[in-house]
Amino acid sequence: MPALQAADALRAAGIPCEPAEETLGAVVRLDAARIADALEALNRAGYDFLVDLFGCDTGAAIEITWHVRAFGRHEDLFLKATVEYYGEAPSVWNIYPAALYPEREAAELLGMSFPGHPNPKRLLTVEGTEPLLRRSVLIRSAEEVRIP
C-alpha cells in the first residue's frame, strides 16, 4: 500500500496528511504550505522523480497535483493540496528541477504563484492573458455538446 507507507513517512517527518487508494492510484492529501517539506521527506524515502505537476480548477479552489515516482520500486504517488484562488504554494524546484516549467505554466494558467521559483516568468502565454479559470473562460454546456 504505497499511500499508507508514504503517509507513514510523512507523519514521521511531522507532516499531517490523509492517504487514500483511488482509481488514480495512491493519493495523499495534505496542506499546501507543507508541500515542500513533504516532497523533501518523500525524496529521501525513494521518490526521486517528479512525473508531473498541474492544477485543476475545482470551482471552489485550485487543486494542485504533484505526481512523483519511486523509480527503483516502480511506485507512483499523487500528492494533492488545495490552494485558494490567486493563492500560492511553495516552489519545489530545488527538490525536483523538473518542476521549473510546470510551476510557471500552472501559475499563468490558473492565476496563482509559486514563491521561491528562480525564474517566475510566463511560459506559454503573453503578458496580460487572463488565467483560464472555469468561471472566466466559457465552457460549452452539456446541451451544446449533446448529440444532434
Binding site: 483511488e22 482509481t23 488514480l24 492510484g25 526521486d48 522523480f49 517528479l50 512525473v51 508531473d52 498541474f54 485543476c56 480548477d57 497535483t65 505526481h67 523509480f71 516502480h74 507512483d76 499523487f78 525536483y96 528541477p97 523538473a98 521549473l100 516549467y101 525564474n119 510566463r122 511560459l123 506559454l124 502565454t125 503573453v126 483560464l132 473562460v137 465552457i139 460549452r140 452539456a142 451544446e144 455538446v145 449533446r146 448529440i147
Partner: protein, 395 residues
C-alpha cells in the same frame, strides 16, 4: 591601428616614422573590448524543429547560458478538451504531438478505459500496438533525418524521407490519414485492417532493415558525424532524472526504464523486445539508443503482423458516453518518452480536466544544463538530439 607617437617635453604627440620605415609599432590588438552576446535562435530557425525560441548567451563561440522560450504554438488543447465529448477529444490530441498522434490517442483512450472500466477487445489492443510501432518508426525517421540536417548531413534526409513515405502510405491505408489519424478512440479502434494492408506492411518491411542499415552507415558510419556527437551535450544520469526526462533521452543516460516493459499496456506484455541503453548520455548515445529502438520496432512489427487475433475492433460505446466521476492516469511510451494523460471526470459528457504529460516538455527543460559550457555548433546538435515536437510542448 595605433600610430607611433613620441611624447615631447610639453606633453604633445607628434607622429614619427621609425628608423626602419614603419609608421606604427606592431604590438597586436591587446585592448579589444569583449562582451557576452545574447543570441536569439528562433522562433523561425531550421534547427529549432518548429517554433521554439532559444536565447543563448555566448562568450565567443562558447555557450554561457541558454533558456528556451515556449508558447508560440500554444493552442490551449487541455482547455479545449473540457468542451469536447470523449469521442471528439482524439481530434485535439492528434494536434498535440503531430509526428506521432497515435500514441497520444492511445494514452487518452487508456485513461478513459481505466476510469470507466471498459474491456477492450484483444484485436483492438493488437491493432493499437501495431499502429503505434509503425508510428514510432516514422517518428524516429523524422528525428534521424532532421538530426542529420542539424549536423550538416543533407543526403541522408532524402533517403530517410523515401522510407517514411512508405510507412505513411501504409498508415494512410489503415487509418485514412497521414498525420491527424483520429483512429484510436476510447473502447478500441475505428476500423479493422483493410484488405491488402498486411501485404503492404510486409512489402515495406522487406526493405526496411536494409534501408535502416544504409541510413545508419551514412550517418553513424561517418567519422565527421561521429566526432561531433561523442562527448558533446552530455546529460548525466542524475541530471536526467532530476529534470524528469524520459524515453530515449533518459535511456541514453543509462536509466533502464521503458513504459512498454515496466508498466505494460495494450499488447506489449506478450511481445519480445529489448530496451537499448546508453551510458554517458552524450549526443552519440542518444543516436545509438534511437537507432537501436528502430531495430526493435521492426522486430515488434514482425511479431505483431504474425499474430493478429480475430474478433471485434471496439467495445460497444454509447454515443453519449459518460465515465463515472473520478480521476485516472495512463501513460504510453511515445517516441519521445513517457506520454501520460491525467483525466479528471465529474461524470459529465466532457472531461472536467485533461492534463497531457508531455515527454518533450520535460526533456526540453534540460537545455540550460545541457547547452551551457559547449559550443554554439554543438548546441544545435544537442537540441536536435532531444527530439522535441513543439506541438506537444506548447499544447
Amino acid at each position: 591601428m595605433t600610430s607611433v607617437s613620441s611624447m615631447s617635453d610639453e606633453g604633445t604627440h607628434h607622429p614619427v616614422v621609425l628608423p626602419c620605415g614603419l609608421r606604427c609599432v606592431p604590438r597586436g590588438v591587446d585592448e579589444l573590448a569583449t562582451e557576452h552576446l545574447v543570441l536569439n535562435m528562433g522562433p523561425q530557425h531550421p534547427s529549432t524543429h518548429g517554433v521554439l525560441h532559444v536565447l543563448v548567451e555566448l562568450d565567443g563561440e562558447e555557450v554561457i547560458a541558454a533558456e528556451a522560450s515556449l508558447g508560440y504554438l500554444h493552442r490551449g488543447i487541455e482547455k479545449l478538451a473540457e468542451s469536447r465529448r470523449y469521442h471528439q477529444v482524439a481530434t485535439l490530441l492528434d494536434r498535440a504531438d503531430y509526428i506521432s498522434g497515435l500514441h497520444t490517442e492511445t494514452a487518452f483512450a487508456l485513461a478513459v478505459e481505466r476510469l470507466a472500466g471498459i474491456e477492450v477487445p484483444a484485436k483492438a489492443s493488437h491493432l493499437r500496438t501495431l499502429l503505434m510501432e509503425l508510428n514510432r518508426y516514422a517518428s524516429h525517421l523524422v528525428w534521424l533525418g532532421t538530426f542529420g540536417l542539424d549536423a550538416g548531413a543533407m543526403a541522408p534526409f532524402l533517403y530517410i524521407m523515401r522510407d517514411r513515405e512508405m510507412i505513411l502510405d501504409v498508415i494512410e491505408a489503415i487509418t485514412g490519414s497521414r498525420m491527424m489519424f483520429n483512429y484510436i478512440r476510447p473502447g478500441g479502434v475505428v476500423a479493422d485492417l483493410p484488405a491488402g494492408s498486411e501485404d503492404k506492411i510486409r512489402a515495406w518491411l522487406a526493405h526496411a532493415d536494409g534501408w535502416l542499415d544504409e541510413n545508419d552507415a551514412l550517418l553513424g558510419g561517418n567519422e565527421i558525424f561521429r566526432l561531433r556527437m561523442v562527448g558533446t551535450g552530455v546529460i548525466d544520469r542524475t541530471t536526467a532524472l532530476a529534470f524528469g526526462m524520459t524515453g530515449g533521452c533518459l535511456r541514453a543516460s543509462g536509466v533502464d526504464y521503458d513504459v512498454r516493459r515496466d508498466v505494460p499496456y495494450c499488447a506489449y506484455p506478450g511481445l519480445d523486445f529489448d530496451v537499448p541503453l546508453g551510458s554517458t548520455g552524450d549526443n552519440w548515445d542518444r543516436y545509438v539508443v534511437r537507432i537501436g529502438e528502430m531495430r526493435q520496432c521492426l522486430r515488434l512489427i514482425r511479431q505483431l503482423l504474425d499474430s493478429v487475433p480475430e474478433g471485434a475492433v471496439s467495445a460497444k460505446m454509447s454515443r453519449a458516453f459518460k465515465p463515472p466521476a473520478g480521476e485516472s492516469y495512463a501513460a504510453v511510451e511515445s517516441p519521445r518518452g513517457e506520454l501520460g494523460i491525467h483525466l479528471v471526470s465529474d461524470g459529465g459528457l466532457t472531461p472536467y480536466r485533461l492534463r497531457l504529460r508531455s515527454p518533450a516538455y520535460f526533456n526540453l527543460a534540460v537545455v540550460d544544463e545541457a547547452l551551457a559550457g559547449g559550443l554554439i555548433a554543438d548546441a544545435i546538435v544537442t537540441l536536435g538530439s532531444l527530439d522535441i515536437v513543439l506541438g506537444e510542448i506548447d499544447r
